[in-house]
């Protein structure tokens, strides 16, 4: 089963969100896979342990009824090839019985996703993939599906090109059926983007098309692609847990990328609302990816591509989200004597629970504007209180400040 949510009839042609989620951990033709025939050109790939699990966590997040997406969900398709380890960790995943993420199911479901997304221009299309990936050129990422490396086929036969999928979702010049393709599209690509050294001396090695792409019409999409890694770099995961990118992505979508503005498609007299948008997500992941993901010492870096025009809201938040505050105390020796006070614009005082390490005090505080005092408690003759003279913006995901108490 792939089509896990189908509200099309109930929505009666109204715009909605069309979701396609795919994830592969178990690769048939890599060592440890189900097949006895191993890939000849495996580009150094091994079995994965948390990508299908990450895709499943994204599926659970996006279909959670408490998550207010910008539009109601119209359809959701999921193809997953989890490892046995992942199924053991999460029985719910084992019971879910999704179709596997092999080339045949992937291509069939992506095409069906596009057909549904082409029912209304104002709809939103969301594409998510977690698994192995490589670059077949410096500018294109190829997603490796669970039957990748079948020695009976070409090296990249059981793969899919992000460029082909992205181009295939463009408003076409002539294909009438796709004239109303959703103009807001979000792509989340959680995989490595390594350019194999053996490709450098060849013309591009093609991945077979999922879509027959014709020349596009006027390009009027809002279609950012959020990549887990920069071109020619790797993406990482915690074994049997989650990929760092999806962890950061879900945290951002839950508020770490929150901001308060008027919706760009709303009216001037609409009340501004807390929300996560393409732009706030980009800002949060660009500046704080490693911190949000608790990334160990790796070189993974988020990047954005596609057509990141506009600033479409992805979801609404109930109110101001929490912000990670990080206050550096000078001198560091005073850190254990300092109690932080956050005083909002109405004079209300908060002293959130904090922990200190070296010269830094960390705590979480609701987004807002505050005067941030560093109070010496109990007072001593060595250090002195720092009383803030101005209101400061404390916005997600991270608020940094330095306080001198000498």
């Amino acid at each position: 089963m792939s089509l896990v949510i189908n509200n099309k009839a109930a929505m009666n042609g109204q715009p909605g969100v069309h979701i396609f989620i795919s994830g592969v951990s178990l690769y048939k033709h890599l060592p440890g896979g189900e097949s006895h025939s191993l890939a000849v050109a495996d580009y150094g790939m091994k079995q994965l342990s948390s990508t299908a699990l990450s895709a499943f966590k994204f599926y659970r997040w996006i279909t959670d009824e408490t998550v207010s997406l910008r539009l109601p969900i119209a359809t959701c398709r999921v193809v997953l090839s989890p490892s046995n380890g992942e199924k053991d960790i999460l029985p719910e995943l084992a019971a879910a019985n999704f179709d596997p993420c092999d080339r045949a199911h992937f291509a069939k479901e992506v095409r069906a996703w596009r057909d549904d997304a082409a029912s209304h221009k104002d709809s939103i299309a969301i594409f998510y993939f977690a698994g192995h990936g490589i670059q077949n050129s410096k500018t294109n990422t190829v997603l490796l599906l669970d039957d990748f490396g079948d020695p009976a086929e070409g090296d990249l036969t059981n793969t899919a090109s992000v460029g082909n999928i992205f181009d295939g979702m463009a408003p076409p010049q002539t294909v009438a059926g796709l004239k109303n393709i959703a103009r807001t599209q979000f792509y989340f690509i959680d995989c490595c983007r390594v350019f194999p050294p053996q490709f450098k001396h060849f013309a591009t090695i093609n991945s077979p098309d999922v879509f027959k792409v014709e020349l596009s019409g006027r390009e009027d999409r809002h279609a950012p692609i959020f990549y887990a890694a920069l071109p020619d770099t790797k993406a990482y995961a915690l074994q049997n847990e989650q990929t760092f990118f999806t962890k950061a992505l879900i945290e951002c979508l839950n508020g770490a990328a929150g901001d308060i503005r008027r919706d760009e498609d709303g009216n001037d007299d609409d009340e501004p609302k807390w929300h996560v948008s393409a732009q706030t997500l980009n800002m949060a992941l660009s500046n704080y990816f490693s911190e949000i993901a608790n990334l160990p010492n790796t070189n993974q870096e988020f990047s954005m591509g596609g057509i990141p025009t506009g600033d479409k809201t992805i979801r609404w938040l109930d109110g101001p989200p929490e912000v990670r505050a990080r206050i550096r105390i000078d001198p560091g020796l005073a850190v254990s004597n300092v109690k932080l006070e956050f005083i909002d614009s109405n004079g209300n005082l908060s002293s959130p629970a904090a922990e200190s390490q070296d010269d830094i005090i960390r705590c979480r505080i609701k987004a807002g504007s505050y005067r941030v005092n560093a109070r010496i408690a109990p007072p001593n003759g060595v250090y002195k209180d720092f009383e803030d003279s101005i209101l400061r913006t404390v916005l997600p995901p991270v608020f940094n400040l330095k306080r001198k108490v000498l």
């Binding site: 410096k138 020619d232 506009g310 101001p320 614009s345 504007s369 101005i390 330095k402």
Partner: protein, 410 residues
């Protein structure tokens, strides 16, 4: 019941990056955004409390709180936190415009597939003993194999420990600077210059004794816009777009096609096609030497669905050379690839197919060794026409290169 609000950006070292206009955001105490604009704007606001925020492209935040009083002119001063100030005036553009991750120039993989990074750290002055390093430059058109090594009068403008800035004179043809250092692949960068507008090339000695290369445009606002745009920061890019219009940049004797190209690339990156008007056409027609002029026009036409005209424009790049900007290189490769795949004789003639195939041969060679995170086309290889990731064993025998080892290690 309103007052006006002026802004002043105050760096510790005055004139650090000139009187550059910086994007600012004005919020209410509940953090609702009230207005966005530039620090050179005068904003009219209802009387009340506001928070003013400005984020530099490299991530430094300048924040202040202002109580706007009615019928008077209010001033808010923004300055970076003390620990975020640029250590040297001459490094200001690099410090405030280039994020840490963009300061990382990627070195090619070793055969085992591992990756090494050169950390481009202008502030990291705990240097190892520097290895010999040289600079040389080329001009000409790579597509037509018509390049020559230049006898450059390297004019170094800034000189701090571990950091050296060169002013490179403008010229109306593509120019490439090459950084040579032993045991590292030579780094080639296409320079953002035009006849009336030089650029500054930066060479930085990093902690492990190696050097990296970057460039800054003469137009500081365009330089800043490029860095915001590269990171996908649409609001700041849009705010600067009010200042950097084609009308301002392409008219008059000192028109600045490089700054205009930055503006046009930013509009394409964020798909603001309606704002391009005849921007790309003017750039294409008025600066017939600039590779990015034909690429920008081609991409603009392609986004409008006018693919036959777009193909003509992209193919014209062969007479001009490799694009200055890596966005341009990326557009050129992707579009030529698409058009070759269409293969339809009604769309692409046999002659056009031959030209496009020839171009793609060079473009694929270059792109395989290109770092697309860099705003300017940057790739490795001793031979600028035959890129590779081979480390330099011995310096080429050339009289035109400049040995900067002593300058940079002082």
């Amino acid at each position: 019941m309103s007052g006006t609000l002026d802004f002043e950006i105050r760096f510790r070292r005055p004139n650090a990056i000139g009187s550059v206009a910086v994007p600012v955001e004005v919020r209410k105490p509940d953090l609702t955004v009230v207005k966005t604009g530039l620090s050179t704007d005068k904003m009219v606001l209802e009387a009340g409390e506001y928070l003013v925020i400005s984020r530099m492209p490299a991530g430094q935040e300048m924040v202040n709180h202002v109580n706007v009083k009615e019928n008077v002119s209010n001033l808010v001063i923004l300055r970076p936190e003390e620990n975020e100030e640029s250590p040297h005036e001459s490094e200001a553009a690099q410090h405030y415009f280039v994020s840490d991750r963009q300061k990382t120039i990627q070195a090619p993989k070793k055969k085992g597939g591992t990756r090494t990074n050169l950390i481009f750290g202008a502030s990291q002055h705990k240097t190892a003993r520097p290895a010999p390093v040289k600079l040389r430059s080329y001009a000409g058109n790579l597509f037509e194999d018509d390049t020559r090594e230049l006898n450059t009068d390297w004019n170094y403008s800034d000189h701090e420990r571990g950091f050296l800035g060169f002013n490179v004179d403008g010229t109306n043809e593509p120019k490439i600077v090459q950084l040579l250092q032993k045991n590292c692949p030579p780094i080639n960068m296409v320079l953002p210059i035009s006849n009336e507008h030089p650029c500054k090339v930066l060479v930085t000695n990093v902690a492990d004794g190696r050097y990296t290369l970057d460039a800054h445009l003469q137009n500081a606002e365009a330089d800043m816009m490029l860095r915001y745009s590269t990171r996908g920061f649409i609001r700041a890019t849009e705010a600067l777009g009010e200042e950097l219009t084609a009308e301002k940049l392409l008219q008059g004797k000192f028109s600045d096609p490089i700054a205009a190209a930055v503006g046009a690339y930013a509009l394409l990156r964020f798909n603001k096609i309606d704002l391009l008007h005849d921007w790309t056409e003017n750039l294409h027609n008025s600066f017939t030497w600039l590779p990015d002029g034909s690429v920008l026009l081609g991409e603009h036409l392609a986004r409008l669905g006018r693919h036959k005209e777009a193909l003509d424009a992209f193919l014209e790049t062969r007479q001009r050379g490799i694009p200055v900007f890596s966005d341009g290189l990326s557009y050129l490769i992707d579009r030529l690839n698409t058009y070759l795949n269409i293969g339809n004789d009604d769309f692409i003639s046999r002659d056009q197919k031959n030209i496009a195939t020839g171009m793609m041969t060079l473009l694929q060679r270059i792109s395989a060794f290109t770092d697309f995170r860099e705003p300017f086309t940057t790739y490795t290889g001793l031979n600028i026409l035959e890129p590779d990731d081979e480390k330099l064993k011995t310096f080429p025998n050339t009289e035109e290169s400049l040995d900067i080892t002593k300058l940079i290690s002082i």
